[in-house]
Amino acid sequence: MRYFLRRLMQGVFLLIGVSILTFLFSTLAPGNYFDEMRLNPQIAPETVAALRVQYQFDRPLPVRYGRWVNALLHGDMGFSFAYNSPVAPLLWVRARNTLLLTVTAMLIAWALALPLGIWSATTFGRLPDRAISGATAVLLVIPDLVLAIGVLILAVRSGWFPTGGMVSAALEGLTPVQKLRDLAWHMELPILALVLSALPSLVRHVRAAVAEVLDAPFLRAAASHGIPRTRLLYRYALRAAANPLISLLGFSVGSLLSGSLLVEVVMSWPGLGPLLLEAILARDLFVVIGGVLCSTVFLVTGNFLADVLIYWADPRIRSGAPAR
């Protein structure tokens, strides 16, 4: 129990550290939103100055940070200059859209990676394994950006898929079912891109973890007891190979908010990615910090989840047994 409290505290410290650093870097970076404004000849310098005071840019850094933290604890994540709205609702909508994409992609990727990896491990060195390894190698080498653009080209050329966006323009007039189908239709390509970029690494990890276990004496011992092959594979081999895979799962969860930025930008999916990108370019301070903080929360949660899962799955860790 103390172990988990410690991990939780580490997570909180991480969040605090990240928020400070982000705050620092964002404000220390040359330029801010108001500098951009000043360049705009249509806005009077007095307006800019007044806005600056209003947003307290004239106060020292620690004070501003303190006020921000205080506001955060009351659920207020600041104000977006560019969108002229509070940050929090902005982030929630975008984060929801991103999660829709990434959670689905993650589920599909894992559902494919497990059987493929196991198949690869059990046919080690033979044709199925070589084919899968070859395919994953090719996919790994292709940069995510190229994959996303490639998928986009597929959409444009074939006309089967929408070339971007989350919903069609004619959304309003559709029935709920049709709305759902429209959404799914828009999701297909981004999910394809995400799955293609995540799958190869997952498959290789599963393959490696399972292959290592297949050689283990306890597996042969179980086989000698007459335990049937499927049970041997899924109950005995997979469970023993679980530890590294659980860590990987935690990492997958951790990158749910951050891993899809590229794909979202290319496919014009209104998620957290494009929002963050614009905010950084526009020096929209609170959006940037808010977005980074959200991603970090997910990261910490993902790692914590992995810890909990491993604790639950491996009795040796529960009783603190020495590593053999």
Binding site: A216, P217, F218, R220, A221, A222, A223, S224, H225, G226, I227, P228, R231, R235, Y236, R239, A240, A242, A313, D314, P315, R316, S319, A321, R324
Partner: protein
């Protein structure tokens, strides 16, 4: 009455990645009768562990059974369909591997691992299985049965883990148990406990046992007959008393002489030089013609370099593969 197990002229080889074959077992033949305990005595590299897994066709991918037959209750296991082997493995013939700590799944409870063995062979309700599982564990853990059942392997000592393996072996009532170095990593006291369990269980269930070990003293108290394996071939086979006390094959004789008298020795034999077998066991990948023990044999003759000896029967029960006696 026909023997329970008949191994006839078994040849097993390992194939290296480059395709080169190195023999692990050649021409191994022996019988095991119902209720009998056969000791297989041999040192590292002699092929004893290969023999254990070959009987159940559990050899690794790079091994090949080239010739021979393994007749169990009349059926040739080497020529049977893979499916036909499943009801035999663990249920009619049970294998107990070396290193008990490695032979159990690290993250599954003992109760489940034992139940899995039962479930693989006997259709029954979960409740009935649990009953049987506790019963089986109670054979080797008369006290504390429930506590052990709920434990994980890493929470048990080496001796306890070995008992669990024995329980799993007898769970489905096999007629033959093949135990590969069952006491190798254990303390002397624990060793005695395990051997005692073997004795008790074989009486109770009329088990046949093949006990594989490199320690002749273990076989003295447990085996009816001993088979001596050297470099993949049977050097000698006969009643325990004869093979250990008056060995006929030069290898067996040299091996028995190199074991210190220790507890039975006198003050004079203490710290004396032990007679050793010069040289080392041959590398089976690069075999030369002739008897495999020839280069280390004190009694070697001209013909030993040219041909390999066949088995000569010294008596009804005792056979030797050595030119000294014919071959």
């Amino acid at each position: 009455m026909a023997p329970l197990l008949q191994v006839q002229d078994l040849h097993v080889a390992y194939i290296s990645r480059a395709g080169r074959k190195s023999p692990a077992l050649e021409g191994v033949s022996f019988d095991v009768r119902t209720g009998e305990t056969l000791g297989v005595l041999g040192e590292s590299g002699c092929g004893k562990s290969t023999l254990a897994v070959a009987l159940l066709r559990l050899l690794p991918g790079n091994a090949e059974i080239q010739k021979g037959a393994v007749l169990f209750e009349g059926q040739d296991l080497l020529r049977a369909e893979p499916r036909a082997l499943e009801p035999i493995r663990g249920a009619r013939i049970a294998l107990i591997f070396q290193e008990p700590s490695l032979a159990l799944h690290p993250t599954i409870r003992i109760s489940e691992q034992v139940s899995d063995v039962l479930a693989a062979h006997e259709p029954a309700s979960r409740a009935a299985r649990r009953q049987k599982m506790l019963q089986v564990l109670a054979e080797v853990f008369p006290a504390d049965t429930a506590h052990i059942a709920d434990s994980y392997p890493h929470q048990l000592s080496g001796g306890q883990q070995q008992r669990v393996l024995i329980a799993m072996a007898i769970a489905c009532g096999p007629s033959l148990i093949v135990a590969d170095e069952p006491t190798a990593s254990l303390d002397p006291t624990t060793q005695q406990d395990i051997l005692g369990i073997f004795r008790r269980l074989r009486e109770k269930f009329n088990l046949s046992i093949i006990l594989i070990t490199h320690n002749p003293a273990l076989l003295a108290g447990l085996a009816d007959r001993v088979l001596v394996l050297y470099a993949g071939k049977v050097a000698e086979i006969g009643p325990t008393e004869e093979v250990l006390k008056s060995p006929q094959h030069p290898y067996t004789r040299a091996l028995m002489q190199s074991v210190p008298e220790g507890l039975e020795g006198s003050a004079r034999s203490r710290k004396s030089r032990l007679p050793v077998i010069p040289g080392e066991a041959p590398n089976l990948a690069v075999l030369e013609s002739g008897c495999r023990f020839e280069s280390r044999c004190a009694d070697r003759m001209e013909q030993c370099k040219q041909r390999e000896p066949g088995a000569t029967a010294l008596s009804e029960a005792h056979a030797v593969s050595c030119f000294k006696y014919g071959g």
